[in-house]
Amino acid sequence: MDLIASFAASFFNQLQSPTLAFLIGGMAIAAAGSKLSIPDAVYRFIIFVLLMSIGLDGGMEIRDADLAALALPALFAILIGCICVLLGAVTLARLPGIARDDALATSGLFGAVSASTLAAGMVVLDEKAIPFEAWTPALYPFMDIPALVLAIVLATLHAQKSKGADGQYGVGQIIVDSLRGSALSALILGMVIGLLAQPGQVYEEFYETLFRGFLSILMLVMGMEAWSRLAALRRVAHWYMLYAFFAPIVHGLIGFALGWVAHEVVGLSPGGVVILAVISASNSDISGPPTLRAGIPGANPSSYIGASTSIGTPVAIALCIPLFTTLAGVVFAQ
């Protein structure tokens, strides 16, 4: 009861958060048929700056982070990525009128991670002055890659015909491709530079300064895309909508639970737990799709991209972030 009240409060409070306001604003103007659009070049630059910024910060922090504390959450991240995909494989894939390939691709996407949701989560925690380990974003690849790998492997095992013209699309190849994707390379490059060089000044002067602003614009883009893809989604089975709505919440709760364990065992901070939950709730919007496209050519992109951008991402950002911030407040209050 109390939780519900406090959740309601926190949620309403969220609506005041600019981060979310821009997301909703994007949907609104897209729904209104506005011709406003953010140039693709700018969008790609924004993604780069956000991930480079997260990477630099994380890299500088990892220097004096105790790696033991990092190990368990990383292990959990891998676990979560796989569990989410398996969950999809035994639920969505079993539903009537759902092609197995499509279901596996969708599960892979929802098991993987979204950079934009991660960034949004970090800013919201900042807004609420909830501290978290700056290395938590480093968990991204540990969850993202296993999810994509598992989904593709399942699809390939199941159907021989799924083997693209490019013959076997091996596990190694999948991992390499994910790491080569623009999102992960920017994140990792940032971490390495943060770890080895002294980018402190350029980070504060430039990357940190632009972070919130760029995120606000990214949220706008996400909102516009979400709406404009709904049309495509309507054409596919309604099960996708249901899955896209509930998967982030369930995945997030799993993440939160394991995060809580990490809190008890290695003292992961409450903020860190929220980040882990948010990462789990998020679904890949940049790196995932092309990897899945190449790995499961038989799957129809309209289904998994539509489900993810139109419903999954908005739910992860607008619903899950406030949900888990509130949960943390309740759980870690004692």
Partner: protein, 101 residues
């Protein structure tokens, strides 16, 4: 001075670009030209220069002019067989007149 030649035009998703280029060079084309675009077909509809979350699915249009019509047809068949049975994309041929350099 002017010679008849065959132009092979391939329209596909950006993520196939490298493989398509290999196919084109393997088929013996001396060169190719690529332009970015957007479009609609049996599968996805693609946005063009407005921000698209998944740019790898955006469309490219590759044209390769080949002196040998048979090679051109072979290229088209090869590309169709290896890619467009499963993935998005089309390929077509047109007769042109090229001026030797």
């Amino acid at each position: 001075m002017f010679h008849p030649a065959t132009k092979v035009t391939i329209i596909a998703e950006q993520l196939l670009q490298d493989k398509l280029i290999d196919a084109i060079e393997a088929a013996g084309a001396k060169g190719y030209t690529i332009v970015d675009g957007s479009g609609k077909g049996q599968h996805l509809t693609r946005a063009s220069d407005r921000a698209v979350i998944v740019s790898d699915f955006s469309i490219i249009r590759i044209e390769a002019i080949m002196a040998d019509d048979a090679q051109a047809h072979a290229l088209a068949t090869d590309v169709r067989d290896r890619f467009f049975t499963q993935q998005s994309g089309i390929v077509y041929l047109s007769q042109i007149e090229i001026i030797e350099r």
